[in-house]
Amino acid sequence: MLTRAGSVVVFLAVLAFPFFYNLVSTGYSSSATAQPQLKIAKPGKCVEDTAWMRKNHMKMLIHVREKAVREGVRSVDHSFHGCINCHPKREEFCNRCHDYVGVKPECWNCHHYDL
């Protein structure tokens, strides 16, 4: 019979098994799955730098959207028409990261990206 302390140790070992299993099977790399790779049809400079876009593109798009709908400011560069110019395929751009993190944007329910 296990003592009470022994059973706690066994329980914790079972509980932590997936963590150690992944640690060993992926060769101690920081990420278990491959990072999404974006395909850029027209490489060049984005309207903002990559790190900023990664973090803030949704805020930027909503800001541009409000401006366009409410105030009628229809400049192209920071809107997603600007995105489409350099990233013509949604499957190779938006979807790569959004599938990876499991976030479903609703933009394309109505707006045309690539058809």
Binding site: R65, V69, R70, E71, G72, V73, R74, S75, E106, W108, N109, C110, H111, H112, L115
Partner: protein, 259 residues
Amino acid sequence: MALDRRDFLTIGGLIAAGTALGSVGSAFSHTASGHEGHEAEPAVKRTGDRASSKNKWGMVIDIEKCGEGCDACVRACRKENNVPHFDDPKLDIHWIRKITFKQKGVPGAEERQMPAMCFHCEHPPCAHVCPVAATFKRADGIVLVDKHRCIGCRYCMIACPYKARSFVSMHVEPKPGDNRDVPVRMHGVVEKCNFCVHRIDSGEEPACVESCRKEGNGAMVFGDFNDRASKVSEMVRTSRARRIRPDLGCDPQVFYMGI
């Protein structure tokens, strides 16, 4: 160095010829650019790069000219704004529709037709009742639905006395062949005519007005009521253009002639 009379005249003549040629050249280039400018002259001209209260968009429709059975405006609107067909008259979306009417109390009054759409009221009751501020009036007087924000409660449809609004009661998928400048819509929002706001912002007149002039009978005129020189202002000033149901106090910006 002394110039004799002959040299002086030669140099003077050359300078004069050069000046004349230069001015002729610039005149040519001016006419050329002027011509291009004329071609690119927008049908409607908005002030500045955003919706501004300096403009007040509106429309005048001459019912006398509106042809019976002509539906050029309706077709153009459907095409321009990707308005779907649900094949059910109860559910169908109408941004603009031809209505048939008969004057009340007039013996032997004949049936007549007129196009009706959102009248973009000065005091829109739809915007007043919207609980989420999805319907709003833009600075230039266009009443719009922010479909990102609409929750589909349909208060606005009840509030609108002109039946200008439709509810999207089915799923609509963006499809090839759509006009890509205009998004489609999600199931569960309310929508209506927006005076082709994307076209106005890029200096074009609404699709219905354009098709009425090109394919129809030129019954619809679109313009800026704040501009006294515009055709719509002139028509409203000088003819008997009237609003529909002015007693409701919504002050529609679409006027009808010949009612």
